[in-house]
Symmetry: C2
Subunit: 399 residues, 2 copies
DNA sequence: TGATTTTGTTGTGTTGGCAAACATATAAGG
DNA sequence: CCTTATATGTTTGCCAACACAACAAAATCA
C-alpha cells in the first residue's frame, strides 16, 4: 500500500547520520513504549543485525538513557540475552492546570510516575498563578530532582487550544485563559524547556502508547470531563495536529441543528449536548468522581436517568458517526464520563453507531473504554517532554 | 515540534540500503512533483552533497526514469547545471468509471496526459462492463503503449468506498457496485498491476501535488459532482486513509438534524443537502457542465437561485465548520459545482465559516477553488499507479 | 582577456551496518 | 555428569553510501 506512506516524505535527503539517529531513536522508542526487552527481541523487532543492536544499545547506555541488566530466566535454549530497559532516572516533568487545581508530576522514561503533587486552588487559576504554583512545587522538589540523572523538560497538558509552534494557549474556555504565552512564561520561571499541548490530544497519544490503543494506528479518543468533551485523533500512528496544533476538536462538531449556542459561537456542538453536569443532575450526584458515576449508573433504575443516558448516547453516536466516516478508525476510546456512559449501555452505543456509519467503515471498528486512569495526563504530558529525546537520543542527551 | 513527527515511526531499523532508496525516491519525487530541476537545485533542496546528487541522478538515468538535458540559459554566474526531468516515456494508465462513461488515460511521469479516451455508455456500467471497456481501449492502444519505455500499471479512481488492501470496491452507490473485486478483475483482464482508490481522495492528493494545494501539508478537498459530494483529506502531507482506506467521507457527516435519510442510512448528510441537481433545477439547466453552471450563476438574478445558493452554502459551511475544527487545515479546496457555489459568493461562504469555527482554527485558513480541471482524475489516478515506483525507484524499475 | 563564481568530476576518507567466525551460556538427552 | 544442540554475545574485516577536498569546466563580469 504505497499510496498511504509516500508523499508525506520530506524533500530532504538522508545520510549516515540520519541512519544512526533513526536507529537509536527506534531502539530507545521500543524500550520506552513497549517496556524492557532483551537484545535479541530488539534484533527481531528492528530487523537489524545483532552486532548493530549491540552497538546501539552500547551507545544508549553511555548516554545514560538505558540500562542493561542480567538476563531473566527464560527457560529457553541458547545464550541468554541481556535485558535493556529505559533508565528510570531520566525524567520529565508533567503539568496539568485544571479548574480547581494544578497538578505537577515527575515521570520516568520507563513510564513510572515517581511523584505527583496536586495543588488544589480555591478558584480557577490564572495562567500566572499556575506558573507560580508549578515553580513553587518544583522548588519544593529541588532536592528530589537533583537525584535524577537528567530532567529533560516540562510537558504541559492544557484543556484548550494550544498553538503548537510556541506553546501559546490560544483559548482555554474553562480556565478563562485567552492568548496566554504559557510555555515561555513557565520556561522563564523554571529554566526548563517547556512544551504545551491540548490535554485530549496528549491523552489520545498516551492511550495509544500505553493504554487501550496499543498497536492501533488509527484511533479516535474522546474524553468527557467537568470542563466538557475533549478529543484527540491518531492517524497513521501519529497524532493529528493540523497546521497549527488545533486539530481534533470533535467536541465542536455539529450533533444537533436544533441545539443551543456553544461558547465557541456555533450551534449544537457535541460539547453542549453531551455533558457531565446533566448526567450528574439526573443521577443526583454532587462529586465528579468517575467511580461514583459508574456505581450510580449501574445502580440506578430511574427512568429519568435512563432517558438522559439515552439522550446523551444518541448525540454521542452522531459525533461518532461523523468521526468514523471521516477517520475510518479501528478504535474509538472513550474516557472520563463518556466511558461511564458507554459502560452503562455498550451494546446500545454500538448499535447506534453501527446503524448510522457507512457499513464498510464500521466493520473494522471497536469501541472501548479508556484504560489509563488518573495517571493518564501525567504520562501523556511527560511523553510530550520526552518526544525530542526519543526522536534524537544522541543530540538531545549530549546537548 | 517533535510531537508531530515522531511516534508514527515504525519499529524497523534503517540501513544503508534504506538511505539509498530514500534518496533515490526523494530525487525522483522532486522532479516528478515540482517539475524539471537543475542538479544544483536538487542539491539545495535535498541538502545532499553535489557528488551524491550526481550519483543518484546517474542511477535514475540508467534506470530510465529521468533524462538529463542541456542547461537552460540562466543568465547567472557560474557553470551551468544540467536539467533533470522525469522521463515522459514512463507512463501510468489511469481509469475512471462514471455513471455515463469509462475514461482511460495514459499519463507520463512528467505529468503530461498523453492520451485520453472517454468511452460513453448508454447506461451505468457494471464492474464487468467497465473492465471489458478498459481492456478493449487498452487493446486499441497496444501499438501506442509499446512505444513507451515502461508502463508501470493502472490506477483507478472510483466514486465510492474502496478497500485499500486489495482494491475491492465495497460500495459505489451511484454506480450501484457492491463488493466488486475490481482491482483483481482488471488485473486479470489486462495483465497490469492495478491499484484502486476513492476518486475524491485521489483528487485531494492531486490538487495538493499539482493544483491549488501546492506546499500545503494539511488540506481538505471537497468535490461536488453529479454523483454527490466526495471528499479527501491531506494531513501532515499525506493522504488520510484510515485503517482500511475508507477515510475522508465528509459527504456523510451531519449538517442537518432535520434532514432526510441518505442512501447511507443516516440522517442529514451533507450529500443529501448540498447537491448539483437542486442547483441545476433552480438554474433551469440540463447539462452538468461546470462552465455552464458558472455562467448561469453569474448571470442569474433570480431570488430563487439566490435562495438555493444561500441554502447550499449554509449547509456546506456546517460541514466545513466540522472539518476545520477537526482537521485545522490551512486550505480548503472546492471542486466541481462546489467550486461554482463558492465562486458565486466567496465572501458569504468565508463569513459563514469564520463565524462558526473555533477562532484559532480559522486563522490560518484559506478557501480556494480547485485548479485542476478535466485532467484532474487522470493525473490523480496515475499518481496512484506511480506511487510504488516513486517510493522505491530502483527495485520497481528493475523488477 | 583575466578574475570571479558556480558547479560538475574525481579520488580519498569516514562511518554505519552486515556477515562470518568465534566464544559463551543455556537447555535437552543420554 | 557429560555431550550436543541452540541461541546469542563478541570480534574482525568488508562494503556501500555519502561527505569532503582538490581540480576542472563553463558561465558572467570588469
Amino acid at each position: 500500500m504505497p499510496y498511504r506512506s509516500d508523499s508525506g516524505q520530506s524533500a530532504r535527503g538522508n545520510n549516515l547520520d540520519t541512519v544512526r539517529k533513526h536507529n537509536l531513536s527506534v531502539v530507545l522508542g521500543l524500550v520506552h513504549r513497549r517496556g524492557p526487552a532483551s537484545r535479541s527481541r530488539l534484533t527481531e523487532a528492528t530487523g537489524l543485525n545483532r552486532s548493530t543492536i549491540a552497538a546501539l544499545v552500547g551507545e544508549l547506555v553511555e548516554l545514560g538513557l538505558v540500562v542493561e541488566s542480567e538476563p531473566s530466566a527464560s527457560n529457553r535454549v541458547g545464550r541468554p540475552s541481556p535485558v535493556v530497559a529505559p533508565d528510570a532516572s531520566v525524567v520529565a516533568l508533567a503539568v496539568n492546570p485544571e479548574i480547581d487545581a494544578v497538578t505537577v508530576g515527575v515521570v520516568g522514561l520507563d513510564g513510572t510516575v515517581h511523584h505527583r503533587v496536586r495543588e488544589a486552588t480555591d478558584r480557577v487559576p490564572t495562567a500566572a498563578e499556575a506558573v507560580a504554583i508549578v515553580a513553587t512545587v518544583l522548588d519544593g522538589l529541588r532536592a528530589d530532582l537533583a537525584s535524577y540523572s537528567r530532567v529533560v523538560g516540562i510537558g504541559v497538558a492544557v484543556p484548550g487550544l494550544v498553538r503548537e509552534e510556541d506553546g501559546m494557549v490560544r483559548l482555554a474556555p474553562h480556565l478563562a485563559w485567552v492568548d496566554e504565552p504559557f510555555a515561555s512564561e513557565l520556561a522563564d520561571a523554571t529554566g526548563f524547556p517547556v512544551l504545551v499541548a491540548n490535554d485530549a490530544s496528549l491523552g489520545a497519544n498516551a492511550e495509544r502508547l500505553f493504554g487501550a490503543g496499543t498497536h492501533a494506528s488509527d484511533l479516535v479518543y474522546l474524553n468527557g470531563g467537568a470542563s466538557g468533551v475533549g478529543a484527540g485523533v491518531i492517524a497513521r500512528g501519529a497524532p493529528l495536529t493540523g497546521i497549527a496544533g488545533y486539530a481534533g476538536e470533535l467536541g465542536h462538531t455539529l450533533v444537533n441543528s436544533a441545539g443551543v449556542r456553544c461558547h465557541c459561537g456555533a450551534i449544537g456542538c457535541l460539547d453542549t449536548e453531551v455533558n457531565q453536569g446533566a448526567l450528574m443532575r439526573a443521577l443526583g450526584l454532587e462529586s465528579a468522581d468517575i467511580d461514583e458515576i459508574d456505581r450510580a449508573l449501574a445502580a440506578s433504575e430511574s427512568p429519568k436517568v435512563a432517558a438522559e443516558v439515552e439522550r446523551q448516547l444518541g448525540f454521542l453516536s452522531v459525533a461518532l458517526r461523523n468521526a468514523v466516516n471521516v477517520f475510518n478508525p479501528q478504535l474509538i476510546v472513550l474516557g472520563g464520563f463518556l466511558g461511564s456512559l458507554f459502560e452503562a449501555a455498550p451494546a446500545r452505543l454500538e448499535q447506534l453507531v453501527t446503524e448510522s456509519v457507512l457499513t464498510a467503515a464500521g466493520e473494522s471498528l471497536r469501541i472501548v473504554r479508556a484504560e489509563l486512569g488518573s495517571s493518564l495526563l501525567m504520562v501523556a504530558a511527560a511523553e510530550l517532554a520526552f518526544a525530542s529525546l526519543l526522536a534524537d537520543p544522541a543530540t538531545i542527551a549530549e546537548g
